[in-house]
């Protein structure tokens, strides 16, 4: 039986890692705007047709259909260059530490149709890593083949294949964490949550087959494999975030959705199961994510839009490694554990331009004093509130095929490492960090063109 030892100095390393992970998560969320003007040019549609607030990533039912159709819909008026760009400037005010302003992200999208059956989405992202240095990486990838307007038992059927690098990103409802870019942060997390340490997101490659029957019944299944470390490195990813060696990986999704024009609702289940070796020479851990998601949209005449989604993902773990701390042989980690990620998000949009998003993010897990020092509880609770304005991207605005997003965002942590106060267990007389010290306020401006 393999032993994975945590050295005494590992706790400090872990603390630093947690800080970096949180910063990375805050930057991910603060710059999570996604807008693909290349699609608007291809279809003649306005940004607001696919995104309630004229800026992504949340999708309207029309945007979902565009994604399901493999990004191939067009206005039929010639070939359009499938390239778009986005830049984001952010002023970050952390509760502890110095404020900073920087061009935090520059993105290149290669996105659009190749033919009536082939289309895709690829995002190449350059992230500011400090001192005006940028790390360029391949972010999300989703290449599709689709057969539209098929019939099954007299019902409309769309079937397709997606080759993508992030389980859940390809989902049309876009409520799952990889697609919504909204997953609870914490010291642990589920496979389907891109905010989890060593999450598969962007570091795997897989293929799924999907079908939509009668515009309502959606099913998808597929498999993924972790990219070799050398490939991850070439794609811009540090080895520390390696998802490990994955085998026997299966992804399953089933959902019912109903577009009532003025309203939309969906209910779905999702599963991701794999055997993971992390590090790659370690024994195999059995991991299975089982989740469900509910979403509702009030669209009306698009003057007032409300979007609500709730996602609950339970991860069941059976560890292949026995984890102990030296000199405390009686303290052995459990070989079974559960982790749960929950996200409740509500967005109100006025005139497809002014919006407010409030999210409640909860990450919980089984008590384990070895795996989750110092208290043995990994639980993290956080909130995100964002106010934004998108002046363009509507049919009646100056331009409908490019946009600007100005946002003010607050991040609030009420619990981290299972505690509200002294979250890292600092001894008396040393600097204590409370959950509230992780809070941050950001002002951001994103331009998509």
């Amino acid at each position: 039986m393999a032993l994975l030892m945590i050295r005494c100095g590992g706790r400090r390393t872990r603390r630093v890692f947690v800080w970096y992970a949180l910063l990375a998560w805050l930057m991910l969320v603060s710059t999570s705007a996604q807008a693909i003007p290349a699609y608007a040019r291809q279809t003649g549609s306005a940004c607001a047709d696919c995104h309630a607030g004229s800026y992504g990533p949340a999708l309207t039912p029309y945007g979902m259909r565009f994604k399901l159709n493999g990004y191939t819909d067009t206005d039929g008026n010639g070939v359009k260059i499938p390239v778009a760009g986005q830049v984001t400037e952010t002023h970050n005010v952390p509760a502890r530490g110095e404020s900073s302003s920087a061009l935090t992200e520059a993105d290149l999208y290669v996105a659009g149709r190749v033919s009536d059956q082939f289309g895709g989405y690829a995002k190449i992202e350059a992230d500011n890593i400090g001192h005006d240095k940028y790390n360029t990486r391949l972010s999300n990838l989703d290449l599709r083949f689709v057969a539209k307007e098929q019939k099954l038992a007299g019902k409309d059927l769309t079937i397709g294949v997606s080759v993508n690098n992030s389980p859940g990103f390809e989902d049309p409802i876009a409520a799952l964490p990889s697609a919504s870019l909204l997953g609870p942060p914490g010291v642990t997390g589920t496979l389907l949550n891109p905010s989890s340490p060593n999450a598969p997101a962007n570091r795997v490659i897989g293929a799924t087959v999907y079908g939509l029957l009668d515009s309502s019944w959606y099913g998808e299944m597929g498999t993924y494999n972790a990219l070799p470390n050398s490939v991850q490195d070439r794609l811009g990813y540090a080895q520390s975030g390696d998802p490990g060696r994955l085998s026997d990986t299966g992804y399953f999704r089933f959902a019912y959705m109903k577009d009532l024009k003025r309203q939309f609702f969906s209910a779905g289940v999702v599963a991701l199961t794999t055997k993971r070796q992390l590090p790659r020479m370690a024994s195999k851990d059995d991991l299975t994510d089982l989740g469900y998601d509910l979403s509702y949209q009030f669209l009306g005449n698009r003057q007032h839009i409300v979007q609500v989604s709730y996602v609950n993902i339970l991860e069941q773990r059976r560890y292949g490694n026995e984890l102990v701390i030296p000199n405390t042989p009686d303290l052995v980690a459990s070989d079974r554990a559960n982790v749960r990620d929950q996200t409740l998000s509500v967005t109100y949009t006025f005139m497809q331009s002014y919006g407010v998003t409030v999210s409640h993010l909860v990450n919980t897990g089984s008590h384990d004093p070895v795996r989750y020092p110092p208290y043995g509880d990994p639980d993290t609770t956080s909130n995100l509130m964002s106010l934004y304005w998108t002046p363009f991207g509507r049919d009646d605005s100056w331009t409908s095929r490019a946009n600007l997003k100005l946002a003010a965002t607050w991040f609030r942590f009420t619990k981290f490492n299972g505690r509200a106060n002294n979250i890292f267990g600092a001894p008396p007389g040393t600097l204590v960090t409370n959950a509230g010290d992780l809070n941050a306020f950001t002002l951001s401006a994103s331009a998509a063109f």
């Binding site: 003649g44 549609s45 047709d49 067009t74 206005d75 039929g76 008026n77 005449n301 698009r302 049919d395």
Partner: protein, 133 residues
């Protein structure tokens, strides 16, 4: 004979009154609310059509649609089915077309629309479309 025809006849007068009355009622029923129709347009049509002249989406611009012949927007690629339809989009034609699935109204069309069954919304929508000139 002619004199007899011009002479007031109570039966003919009653029939004419009923006929004119029916026409008036029919036109009043069809006369929708253009402002309400604009809202219907946003809900039912705006994802695939604009009302801006010269700007197409997945569907052609609907500016000036009432009175237009089929497949007449020059920079839009129509389906063969609509190119061969050769009809004029009158309010009556629009009423019939939009009240049923598009593929039933014009088999072979590219348009994906399940039809608008709410009579008032349909009247409002067509009244709104009729203002787009």
């Amino acid at each position: 004979m002619t004199t007899s025809f011009l002479r007031p006849n109570p039966c003919r007068m009653a029939a004419a009154t009923i006929f004119v009355g029916c026409l008036l009622v029919s036109s009043l029923v069809r006369a929708g609310d253009a402002a309400a129709g604009a809202d219907v347009f946003k809900t039912e049509c705006a994802e695939c059509h604009t009302v801006k002249q010269g700007r197409n989406k997945k569907g052609p611009s609907l500016f000036g649609i009432v009175g237009r012949t089929t497949a007449s927007v020059t920079d839009y690629s129509y389906s063969d089915a609509l190119q061969q339809a050769h009809w004029v989009w009158t309010t009556d034609k629009l009423h019939g077309y939009l009240s049923q699935p598009a593929k039933q109204a014009n088999p072979g069309t590219k348009m994906k629309y399940s039809g608008l069954t709410d009579a008032k919304q349909l009247d409002d929508l067509i009244t709104y479309l009729d203002t787009l000139h």
